[in-house]
């Protein structure tokens, strides 16, 4: 019996045998993926910001079943838009972008949030670090940046616990496991597109999964704006669910066999 985890991905294998086509020769094909759910007020600004800093990179907005004009505004602002038929959550929307990218032969992906928290001026930094280093994942960390990022005490406590946990299980210092501002390439893209990816809130558990797969990860400092509407994914009663879910997810990630990519 095949594991249910392995039955999810139908993305065709990208023909990138290392012998016939060394990665140095082919220029990296980069895609920016922005999952968005009811972001009509921010998405236009985010897209314009991205186009200002990296006008040559195609931009994909994955509209996660929004009930407002997110898809329309994103299209008008110059992004490609994939609309999911219903709201399936941040991780699923993100994964859709990765599956699409694999099908289209993209080799580098930058993911960022649609709420304007992430500063697009850091995209070139992420890409440079990804190109130069051996790491297949580069994460923008708000806590490495010299500007203080302020948030509520409770959230700070939660972030602290999970960054400690991620640091222990990854064997390296992790300061910002909840950052959705990342650049990925190679096996990391395949991992996100696979059934092993935690679909609800991919944070610390994803970093631990990366480590278990032997994929290198590095954080670089980025500036993050405080969420303008304070409409975080982890607010209210959901935050309790988030914490429980994350502990469980980390626990079972450690119990599972290492994914074969």
């Amino acid at each position: 019996m095949t594991s249910p985890l392995e039955t999810r991905i139908y993305a065709p294998e990208v023909s990138s045998s290392p012998s016939s086509c060394p990665p140095e020769e082919a220029p990296p094909k980069t895609l920016i993926v922005i999952p968005a759910f009811n972001e009509e007020r921010n998405i236009g600004r985010v897209i314009r910001g991205v186009l200002e800093y990296v006008p040559s990179i195609p931009l994909l907005v994955v509209n996660d079943g929004s009930s407002d004009r997110t898809a329309k505004i994103a299209k008008e602002s110059g992004a490609e838009v994939i609309s999911l038929p219903c709201n399936l959550g941040y991780g699923v929307a993100l994964q859709t972008g990765f599956i699409y990218a694999l099908q289209r032969g993209y080799t580098v992906i930058v993911q960022m949030d649609g709420d304007g928290q992430h500063d697009p001026s850091h995209i070139p930094d992420l890409l440079r670090e990804l190109r130069q280093g051996d790491n297949e994942v580069v994460i923008g960390s708000r806590f490495l940046h010299k500007d203080k990022y302020t948030t509520t005490l409770l959230r700070q406590l939660g972030m602290n616990i999970f960054s400690q946990l991620a640091s222990i299980f990854c064997g390296q210092r992790v300061t910002d496991p909840t950052s959705g501002f990342q650049a990925l390439k190679g096996r990391a893209i395949h991992l996100v597109a696979s059934g092993f990816y935690p679909p609800d809130y991919p944070d610390a558990d994803f970093l631990i999964l990366l480590h278990r797969c032997g994929i290198g990860m590095r954080e670089i400092p980025v500036k993050m704006h405080p969420n303008p509407e304070n409409k975080s994914m982890h607010n209210g009663h959901r935050s309790v669910y988030y914490v429980v879910k994350m502990f469980l997810s980390i626990f079972v990630t450690l119990l599972r066999q290492k994914p074969q990519l």
Partner: protein
């Protein structure tokens, strides 16, 4: 076991099994999901009918009241059925997730292709299929 509870129990089991059969016959319930209910109903019926079996099993699980043996197994079967449902729901959730993702991608690709076709033919909307 008091005869009244025995009669009620037997009646409930018979009604449950016949109703499940009827649901399957009308295709309101898939065979796959009916099996759990049929097994539960038949075993509970067996326990209600046979005094010897009930006494033997009550001794086995250490129940002092025979009716509690019935309740115990009824509850046990329900737990198993609920767990089975949770597993099925998880599988269905994963399928819906994958389907939605691929529908989203396919729809996007269809729109891109339509746009390209419109540019080639120079006729807006020519490529769109007539709505049925």
């Amino acid at each position: 076991m008091p005869p009244r509870i025995r009669i009620i129990s037997i009646l409930i089991c018979i009604i449950l099994v016949t109703y499940v059969f009827e649901l399957v016959r009308r295709k309101h319930l898939n065979e796959e999901y009916s099996i759990g209910w049929l097994v539960t109903g038949s075993l509970m019926l067996l326990l209600s009918l046979s005094d010897d079996l009930l006494i033997w099993i009550s001794g086995l699980v250490g129940a002092t009241l025979f009716t509690s043996t019935l309740f115990f197994f009824g509850l046990l079967f329900l737990v198993v059925i609920c767990l089975h449902f949770s597993i099925r729901i998880s599988a269905l959730t994963n399928h819906v997730r994958a389907l939605s993702q691929h529908i989203g991608i396919l729809y996007h690709e269809k729109q891109v292709l339509e746009k390209q076709l419109d540019q080639i033919t120079g006729e807006p909307g020519a490529s769109r299929l007539n709505s049925f």
